[in-house]
């Protein structure tokens, strides 16, 4: 449906940037009202999103706004179809809850207003990413969410560790951006257009190798943004940002952009030989690799960060095998339970005056009941307790791998599910059970922001973690809703062996019991809890270095790219430039010319400044003469 220029999509899109600019410009005046204003803006954007619902539901092709000609042959506009609508509800809806929470979390920070300006700017950037109707604005949104993420990871600019984390996130994401740029070159050369409509309509005619190149270029962008192997190392470090940022950007929305990208570009992937398999394998390996690292972490936010990496691996695996709506469903439920987990961990961190090490927690269930019950609901969701939201979506993804004929990916998915059950249960018992192991004096003095400001969003997201998967009932509601987007291609060709119950639900349930059971025996029994401090220390000392060092992945990337680039830079700057080019090519030639010049030296007085001024005066005099006299 073509929409007029002033329209809902435009308003929803521009509201957050207006809020960001207003808060940024009037920050000192607004003071404590910056947060409420930012919330109001995002709340309004959420209402605007809901107002788009009738049009989106009625129009399978979505609401389309053509904006302007960006460059010759490249027109940009906004598109809200069912896929972008799904993302919009999370970005503005969950985004709104996290904004409210942040009023409490960031209270009293030196740069509170700047924080909310950044947060609103992030929402704008994310909306640009999912509302673009073309690859140029997709990339603009892609880059701007990276900028917002960079600003917010490094929000506390005086902390060197935060600065390094921000740098890493930015550079790795630029690597992804240039992957998308490469895809854009090939797209424009092949299809003569960069709009989704034109490209997807003709995708079937694209030559196979070119389509694979495009798909892999896009995948590079997806891997960087969604922290998939081999570009995943920035995400755990990004936990240096304030916790609301971790929940909003590094769990619920931005890091799922890769899932959006593959789902959006499914016609390209369908016609790109080998690309789908690559996506699926990367997703499955990341799901497992992230879960393994989650097992050895002690920092509560890092446990959640590796779990995010792992869960996005499931989503990427889902869209990679062609089960697009299953991948999108897992994004949807994950946004709720992971945002809940992060915000609840934020409540703990906030109340323990910045403590993030679970070894120094313990016994928090009674002290912080809202955080505990919400986190428990979200944990049940992520580990796949039947009927909870995560159970619905993870089950769908894992089953679809089998139904699309990838038993190895199925196995990786089940293994990662067992590990997820283990490390999440471990985190829960160590954090909430037993007795408090931390420093009692660190208790946080509360300001004037009421407790519900942080508690209510956590509780709502906790409730969402329980029920939101039911949207998919009674009968594959998500796949039906998204059918106009994916054209029915994501329905498995035939039921897999034994049907969903036998082939997936039973194995996943066994994985859950095994994982959570081992965690219980290790951390949850009365005996284990009684001697917790000593046990945890012993366990930390015994962890294998290969895992503690994160597979030596940072060291590997350094050795492959950073060190050679530095050496090359030093070679060029210290030897080639001064000793070769400047000395041999320039100065020697100048010396030779100087010898020749001796012959002519008698002509010159040597005062070049005089010559030069004479020349300029002469030129000016001629022009003035012509201009004035003639």
């Amino acid at each position: 449906m073509e929409s007029s220029v002033i329209s809902w999509p435009l308003i929803v899109w521009l509201l957050p940037i207006a809020g960001a600019v207003a808060i940024w410009a009037c920050g000192p005046l607004l003071r404590r009202f910056a947060g409420p204003l930012a919330c109001a803006v995002i709340g309004a954007a959420f209402v605007g999103t809901l107002a788009l619902w009738p049009a989106v539901a009625a129009q399978p092709a979505g609401v389309h706004v053509t904006m302007f000609t960006w460059a010759p042959g490249i027109t940009v506009g906004l598109l809200v179809d069912r896929l972008s609508f799904i993302w919009l509800t999370i970005i503005t809806g969950v985004g709104f809850l996290i904004h409210v929470y942040a009023i409490g979390y960031m209270e009293g920070d030196r740069a509170e207003a700047r924080f909310f300006a950044y947060l609103n700017f992030f929402i704008f950037a994310m909306l640009t990413l999912v509302m673009a109707d073309n690859f140029v604005f997709l990339l603009v949104g892609w880059g701007l969410v990276g900028l917002a993420s960079f600003w917010l990871i490094g929000f506390w600019i005086e902390r060197p560790i935060a600065v390094e984390a921000a740098r890493k996130a930015f550079v790795m994401n630029v690597v992804g951006d240039v992957g998308i740029m490469l895809a854009i070159f090939a797209l424009f050369a092949t299809f003569g257009s960069l709009s989704y409509a034109d490209v997807f309509a003709k995708a079937a005619q694209g030559p196979g190798p070119v389509m694979t190149l495009i798909a892999l270029g896009l995948l590079a962008g997806a891997c960087a943004k969604s922290a998939q192997l081999p570009l995943h190392t920035w995400l755990p470090d990004a936990m240096e940002g304030p916790t609301p940022v971790s929940a909003l950007i590094h769990a619920a929305t931005m890091v799922t952009a890769g899932v959006y990208l593959v789902a959006r570009c499914w016609p390209i992937y369908q016609h790109a030989p080998g690309a789908m398999e690559t996506v699926g394998v990367i997703g499955a390996l990341t799901a497992l690799a992230g879960a393994v690292l989650g097992v050895v972490q002690w920092d509560i936010k890092r446990i959640l960060a590796y779990s995010t990496m792992s869960q996005i691996g499931y989503m990427i695996m889902g869209v990679g095998v062609g089960a697009y709506s299953a991948g999108v469903l897992h994004f949807y439920t994950h946004a709720f339970f992971k945002a809940c987990l992060f915000l609840a961990s934020g409540v703990i961190i906030h109340n323990l005056a910045g403590e993030q090490d679970v070894r120094k927690m313990g016994g928090l269930a009674k002290r912080m009941p809202v955080a505990f019950w919400s986190m428990l609901a979200a944990t049940c969701a992520i580990i796949g307790v039947p009927l909870f939201s995560g159970w619905v979506s993870k089950d769908a993804v894992v089953y679809q791998t089998l139904a699309h004929g990838h038993p190895v990916l199925w196995l990786l998915g089940v293994a990662a599910a067992a590990l997820t059950a283990y490390y999440m249960s471990r985190m829960m018992w160590v954090t909430f059970a037993g007795s408090f192991r931390g420093d009692e004096h660190g208790a946080h003095a509360h300001g004037h922001v009421p407790a519900w400001v942080m508690g209510l969003p956590v509780a709502l997201l906790g409730a969402g973690s329980v029920v939101i998967g039911w949207l998919n009932w009674p009968h594959e509601g998500f796949a039906e809703f998204l059918a106009p987007i994916f054209g029915g291609t994501d329905v498995a060709p035939a039921a897999a062996w034994g049907g969903e119950f036998l082939s997936t639900q039973i194995p996943l349930f066994i994985a859950l019991i095994v994982g959570a059971g081992i965690a219980y025996l290790q951390y949850g029994t009365a005996g284990a809890l009684a001697q917790a401090p000593a046990r945890l220390e012993r366990e930390a000392a015994a962890q294998p270095a290969f895992l503690v060092k994160l597979y030596y992945w940072n060291e590997l990337l350094d050795a492959l790219f950073v060190t050679p680039a530095r050496a090359l830079a030093a070679l060029c700057a210290r030897i080639i430039d001064p000793k070769l080019i400047d000395a041999v090519l320039v100065r020697d030639v100048a010396t030779d010319a100087g010898v020749l010049g001796l012959l002519f030296r008698r002509w010159q007085s040597g005062l070049v400044r005089t010559y030069a001024l004479t020349l300029l005066c002469g030129a000016a005099a001629i022009i003035v003469y012509i201009a004035v006299v003639r």
Partner: protein, 487 residues
Amino acid sequence: MADSLLWVVLLPIVLGFAMFALPKAGDGIARGTGIVVSAAELLLVALQYGRVGHQVSYPWFTDSPWTAAFHFGSSQIALLFCAMLALITLAAAIVTNVQRERDFMAQMLLLEGTMMGLFLARDLLVFALFWDAMLVPVFIMLVNWGEGTAAAWRFLIYNGTAGLGLLLATAAYGILAGTTDVIGAAHAQSLAAGAAWWIFVGFAFSYAVKTPLFPFHTWMPDTYTASPAPLAAVISSVQSKSGIFGFLVIGFGLFPQEMHRWAPLLSLLGLIAMIYGALVAMWHDDAKRVLAYSSLSHLGLLFLGILSFNQLAIVGVLVYAVAHGLFNAVMFLVVGYVEQREETRAISRLGGLGINNPKLGGAMMVGSMALLGLPGLAGFAGELLILIGVWGSGQHWYAAIALIPIVLAAVYMLRVLLKVVWGPEVQDLPVRPDLAWWEIVAVAPLAAALLLFGLWPNLAAPAAHDVVNVAASVAAAAPATVSEASH
């Protein structure tokens, strides 16, 4: 009196000389005059948009040895560069803070006027005249306000040599073609292929030095480093574009076949410049030197775009030329702010300025993000359009390799930004006030223009129409008979 187009050239030159009549001591008056004049100049350039295509011409040589005229004309492409020059000169004038301000401001105006003359010239001889004339104010400023005279001499000798090449090529062109009044002419005389190639080499050499292109760049870091910030902002942003302008207007206009013949070498040098400049920029500790080598890298991209003979790439080249001018000006001015406050521009010495000087940090953030090609700003739009064109012209490997310096740009620019603005404060550095309002006013319009061209690069499309023979030069290259037949 004379035509307002002519006054675009004359106003800064005449008033620049007139500044010497002001009292020597009155720095405030001098700066105020400089700001008013450069603001008037910006207005005057803006007025020219009302009558694009307007020309004024006065005969110079009438027949012997060839015909030449003081011929100026406004075109979209010329006005684009003139507007950028006027905006950046105004910004530089606002923040000028040097000894003997009267003399400095006078030289800045002379520099502006001579460069206006260059962009508006329609005669090769006039172009060459202004080409050499614009070296003079730079040289004088380098000697009087720069860090050591060695860099000044280096600049003059290197660029003077290039200017000599241009002058000789112009004279040869005039003698062979009978006239030099040919810039932007619809049916310019083509030269016989035998002479065209070496005349083109003369032009191309001078353009390549001025831009500069690898390996003719070694004068440039010394010059930019030695220049006071306002001068560095103007020459790195705008004077570097005179070579690019030469290739676009004179190269394509008069030597399309030669452009094509030399394209493999020139675009290879451009690609080398991109990577080499980025690598060297990663190493240096002097913030200005980092900027100088980043310029080498970015200007290489312009060569890649020009020599792809692709219309979309030409739009990209114009967007990127403007973007590079704007973000370079912002960065040189901001580094000037830093140096004025902290008395050093060594990256390793600085740190944490954003904590006490958030506005300064914000200005550097904007400049750095534009420079490293943040999507949404003009640098990104230019890069993307250029490389789409390069890929579209079949140079797939060039377009792919040209993505590496984009990643490196993020590395070296964040190295500067994060060390200087973020991180813990350095204890023994002086704590100085944040940016004053005029320091913000100077860079804000440049930032706004970066955003405008980033969101809407199509603004440069009309100027791209002035670059003729882009596609034709490819078509004409195979049968080299076109020029033979017409001569």
